[in-house]
Each structure stands twice: as structure tokens, then as C-alpha cells.
């Protein structure tokens, strides 16, 4: 599975949706993922890829990690995974 598919699978599970219902344009709000759900998703993604995501729940906008939609999240994770190697 590609990084994109793996991230979408995690987000879909959190949103209790089918992966096919999660599109790159979807926002977390569209998917019904609240702040607690977001923190849990980030934990699951960190576990999946063995990376640390620079995300502070106190100031999501100030974090160096774009969560504006699914495509942005995937791009951020692809970057982190690439930097890891």
C-alpha cells in the first residue's frame, strides 16, 4: 500500500467511513473528526510510519504541519517519511 492509501485507511477508520469516502479534498471537519479524533489519528499515523509529527494541539495553525485537508496531511507525511530515510 502507498503512503497515501495507508494514511487514508487510518483517517477512514477514525471517521468510521469507507476509505473510498475519504477524498484528497476532504477536510477533517467534513469527515466529522473532532480535536480528540485528530490527536488520535496523529498518534495512529506516527505508530504506522514510525515518525514524529510536529503537531501541537494547543495551536494547530502554528504547527509546522498542514492539516487543512487530507491531501495536505498526506503530503506532510510523505515529506516526514522521506526525511527519515
Amino acid at each position: 500500500m502507498s503512503i497515501s492509501d495507508r494514511v487514508i485507511a487510518i483517517i477512514a477508520e477514525q471517521a468510521v467511513l469507507e476509505p473510498s469516502d475519504v477524498t484528497p479534498e476532504s477536510t477533517l471537519e467534513d469527515l466529522g473528526i473532532d480535536s480528540l479524533g485528530l490527536v488520535e489519528s496523529i498518534f495512529a499515523i506516527e505508530e504506522e510510519f514510525d515518525i514524529s509529527i510536529p503537531f501541537n494541539a494547543n495551536e494547530p495553525e502554528a504547527s509546522d504541519f498542514d492539516i487543512s485537508n487530507v491531501a495536505a496531511i498526506i503530503a506532510g507525511i510523505e515529506k516526514l517519511v522521506a526525511e527519515k530515510v
Binding site: V16, L36, E40, E46
Partner: protein
Amino acid sequence: MKRVVITGAGTINALGHSVPDTLEAMREGRCGISELEFRDVERLAIKIGGQVRGFEAEGRFNRQQMSLYDRFTQFTLTAAKEAIDQAGLAFHGDLAARSGVVLGTAGGGVSTWDDNYRSVYEDGKNRVHPFVVPKLMNNAAASHVSMEHNLKGPSFTVSTACASSNHAMALAFQMVRSGAAPVMITGGSESMLCFGGVKAWEGLRVMSKDACRPFSANRNGMVQGEGAGVFVFEEYEHARARGAEILCEVAGFAMTSDASDIVMPSKQGAARAMAGALKDAGLNASDVGYINAHGTGTAANDKTECAAVADVFGPHADELMISSTKSMHGHLIGGTGAVELLACIMALRDGIIAPTIGYEEPDPECALDVVPNEAREAKVDVVLSNAFAFGGLNAVLALKRI
């Protein structure tokens, strides 16, 4: 002052997953203590406990709830639902705004601490699930009950070791009696039966390796249990006006502090709590037919408790019955007073006194009628429920038949 009655009861413990199942086990003198089953149990010296069996959280709670509910919260929600269903109450409007939840627990989410310490220390992981804190906090259970049942009044958690539930119920009683709340959900829960939880208790060397035999000369210590007991305390006129079934009246309580030792009990502290509860309830010592003892099965507790009963009741101590149901469900620590209150309700409502099982040899220092091994039929009008905690904190409730 308002009168306070109990209109709902719920439980889950080693004897049963409901109040009827638990009372049936108490009537039959069944023992819920058996071999513990969890990871690394073979590394423990103490391998028995009153463990809840066959409780499947999956199916009961959804995935999101499961990630937030420690076992002590799962037990609490299960017992609270039974109690509130029995009471037939739904919380809306003014009733919701003024009613609350006061629960006792000594350890809160012990297995959540245990699992995550294991993960970071033993497995060397550097990341824990984001809900570790909201899952393990001592008030998690009370908060989830408030959310589940829309209780918006005074809600909090009391932690006074083995007296936690009795202190919680005493506070709930005060709130309803004073008119501050028409209804309070109260009781307590505990779930310490995991490797770290039992290992910590092992250290004190007060645990029995084979059985809990309160008041019996050959007793050799306490046995841990787990579970929850939850009750609906309701203002009497409120309950009458809606035609609710009343299980019994909560007549009074007292709390005392020994101010002497962090683990050893004091006869004076226990006696002052029992005498204080009677005084608060406006009852005489001779009115009491049954005492649900703290009765841990340790030498220190049982002798002290019997001596305190003799002091408070004088010659009437030989007339009343006193039993310890910990012999059956184990010591639920912060939840114990709540599960034991069920034996008090059974005595008042059904005229059946739960036995002290495992009783084998009389102890001259515990020469009271401890209702050995078999339940007994007896009509009683007033009962006491004792809880004496480490730290010398005592809480006794007085209940009346109605």
C-alpha cells in the same frame, strides 16, 4: 432537612453482573474468589482475587468509548445504567441541572497506568496513546456517568482508599438531605486486578494466598476484588410523588479520622464513626439488627472492629449480627462500601442476612455473631455499613427499612 431514600441499585462484581445475581450469590454464600487471570500473574506471590469474569466490553461500548474507558469506568457505567434504569429516572431540565454524581475510587485507571508504564519502560516505546490521561484520571468514571445520563449538578470523585465509596455516599446523602440536589448518583468502583495493582498490595504482606476468612481464628489476610456498585439516592418526597419503588432509607452517617497511623486501624476512630452515624440518624444502638463489617480478614482490622462494636453497643453487641461479604466478593478497595451496601439493602428489604463465608474457627477476640457460612433469615429495621480506610479515615452509613 429532607429524608433520603434509595430508589435504584446496580452492580458488577465477582459474584454477578447485576444486583439480582449478586444477591442470589450472597444468599447462597457463594465464593467469587478464584485464580487470577492476567498477563504475568505467574510472577506474583498472590494469585487469587475476586475477578469479574465474562465481562465483554466489546459490544457494550463503541470503539471511541473503548479508547476512553478504563475497566473501572466500564464497571461504573454498567452499574450506573442498572441503577438508573431501576429508578426509572430520566434527567432533563431542572432535575438534570441539580442532580449530580459522587463516586469513590482509590486507584482510578490502574490498568491504564500499568499498561502504559509497561509500554514505555519494558517495551521501550516512546509514544503513548493520546487518551492515557483522560482514561486513567480518578474522576473519569464520574464524568462519563454525568455525560451518559445528563447529570449537570455537583459531580466529583472521592478518594479515601478503602472508605472511598462510603465517603462518596455520605456526601451524596448530605447533598440530598440538605436540599442541594433532588437526586444524586453515588457509589464507587475499583479495578486493580492487574500485575502492578496486585504487586503493590503484595508488598504490604497483608494478602492471603488462599482465602478471605474474616473473623475466623485461622484467617491469614485480605483478598482483592474488583467491580462497581452504584445507587440512586433520591429525596423522599420526590420519590413518593413519582411513585418510585423505595429500596430503603439512608438515615445518617458519620466520618471520623483516627489521626494516629497510616495503616493500623484505631478502635476509637471506628467506634466514634459508628456511634456518630447512629446519633446523626437519631437512632439508638439497640435499634441496630445488622452491621455490614469492614471485615477485611486481616488480624489488625477484625480484632479492632469487633472491639469497637463491643464498645459502641455494649450488651447489645451480642444480640446483633455482623458479617463480612468480602469473604465472597473480595475487597473492592475504593468500591467496596458500594457493593457491600447491597447486603444492607437485602437485610432490610428481604430479611436475609448475607453470611461471612470461609469461617472455620472461632476467635475469642471476634466473639460476635458473624453469621458464619450460611445466610440467615431475620427481620431487621436498622443496619450499619462500616468502612475503615488506610490513613485512619472512617465512614459509616446508617440505613433504615421503609
